[in-house]
Amino acid sequence: MPLGEGFDAALGAAKEGADWAWAALYRDLAGPVTGYLASRGSREPEDLAAETFLQVARNVHTFDGDEGAFRSWVFVIAHRRLIDARRAHGRRPDLVTLPEDDARPGGNVEVEAVDQLVTAELIDAFEKLTEDQRDVLALRIIANLTIEETANVVGKRIGAVKAAQRRGLIALRAHLDVERVTR
């Protein structure tokens, strides 16, 4: 839940080193940042999130902007951490998607019916998308970023982001159709 009108005051206080402000910012963003990192295949999402927030604290004096910009900035840092971690594991983020990704969103998946679909199916379908598509959809949905903010984070044009989310959703729908048909 965004801080809204309280954001400017919180940011100002955070720059002054106020505990309460950092607590408020962290409470708001820790869940989405960790969820984003987990959904994108991070093996240590909590560690990466912690590194992200410490970097935010170190660099906050360079930041100036509103809450949307701040949120976007935090995810820029998180995304870079993610790419660094992939690199460290020998994965190149610009290659085509890996067929299997055993780090699944949320880690422990409870398989239970959600209407006709089950969560496991959804996750399987998501894992079949390309890296770009998953980046964009996770940033749009989990991080709740706008198209423009998402484009900033992934370093792509707005048109490319729109295309990625559209293709991702089409592919997702196709995968889900297949799974229902072949069940």
Binding site: H61, R140, G155, R157
Partner: protein, 342 residues
């Protein structure tokens, strides 16, 4: 990939308006949306970010963050009068000075090289925006640049430079107009070679990192962009920045940021982009020789850094830096091997 027939697939694309996507992603699907069966997916994905941190985690982080901020503030306050100022915070005035100088020297419009000084966040945030704007993110050159700035963020300036040279390769393969880059390539190779040994000195590494970030910003703003920057000017600009990276090799003097306000570049003695000066503590490398002819203003010792006299780069002026001559392309023989693998 699609089990839908081509026809259905095409219809699906056509009817899937961006507006409906926005509604779906915001959690309020359109009444009759063809995407409604994806709503459970959106809900599932959204739930991944809903886990609230524990109170203990919040308190722990808040205390640590506050301590970091307070420590950083005191360092910066103290450093404003001496050398310990945060390197990162130097980049703003540095960047402005570089950009202003480039405009002066090349006659490029401000728009062409304008970083976004109002952009939130650190210097590299501007790079992100630049990458987005020039739209090379989709190509291999863009990927190399993107990796390069990640490496800079990580403090690995040399690897970043190697990625930059790869970006050049890719840009050429992709047919981008990147003409007259020989001089720039050589300068970048030199810079990469010269900072190999600088990494153990954290101060030097920070300066390198800042200078490499400036180079990347310039590249991102201009590579593949048709904004009236002709290839030669572009190459000269790149070479200039790359040489300044070399110059920051072996820096061991305090950096006084007040000496390089942007206004300085408007003096009647336009120096090269004001990058953090280096004091060559006997590095004695010869790479600078013959490389400084990128444009006439070159790397002459009198650029105000006050501690660059007598370094390898300064010597290069004897060669070919007179007037505003074009790069002569001669320095290739001094180029060290280009590392291509990270």
């Amino acid at each position: 990939m699609s089990p839908l027939s081509d026809y259905e697939d095409e219809m699906f694309r056509a009817t899937m308006a961006d507006r409906e996507i926005e509604q779906l992603l915001s959690g309020v699907p359109a009444e009759d949306g063809v995407l409604n069966d994806l709503a459970p997916f959106v809900d599932m994905l959204r739930s991944q970010g809903m886990r609230a941190p524990s109170d203990a985690a919040v308190d722990s982080f808040a205390a640590e963050a506050a301590a970091i901020v307070l420590a950083g503030r005191s360092t910066r306050v103290a450093g404003s009068a001496s050398r310990s100022r945060s390197r990162r915070s130097l980049l703003r005035p540095q960047l402005a000075a570089v950009l202003a100088t480039i405009v002066l020297l090349t006659g490029m419009t401000g728009v062409a090289v304008a970083a976004d000084p109002a952009a939130p966040g650190d210097t590299l945030y501007g790079l992100d925006r630049a990458l987005e704007e020039i739209g090379i993110g989709a190509g291999k050159a863009g990927e190399r640049l993107e990796e390069a700035h990640t490496l800079v963020a990580d403090g690995q300036a040399q690897l970043a430079l190697e990625h930059v040279t790869e970006a050049f390769d890719e840009a050429e393969k992709e047919g981008d107009e990147v003409a007259d880059l020989q001089d720039a390539r050589v300068a970048i190779s030199d810079a990469a070679a010269m900072i190999v040994d600088a990494n153990e000195d954290s101060d030097n590494a920070a300066i390198m990192q800042g200078n490499v970030a400036l180079l990347l910003e310039y590249l991102s703003n201009n590579l593949g962009k048709d904004v009236g920057v002709d290839g030669r000017e572009f190459g000269q600009g790149v070479a200039e920045l790359a040489r300044n990276i070399s110059k920051s090799d072996d820096t061991d003097e305090p950096v006084n940021d007040t000496s390089v306000p942007p206004e300085d570049t408007e003096s009647d003695d336009p120096g090269p982009p004001e990058v953090i000066p280096g004091n060559p503590g006997g590095s004695g490398n010869g790479n600078g020789n013959g490389n400084s002819g990128g444009n006439g203003n070159g790397n002459s010792g009198g650029n105000g850094s006050g501690n660059s006299g007598g370094n390898g780069n300064g010597n290069g002026n004897g060669g070919n830096s007179g007037g505003n001559g074009p790069p002569d392309g001669s320095p290739s023989e001094t180029a060290p091997g280009r590392g291509n693998q990270p």
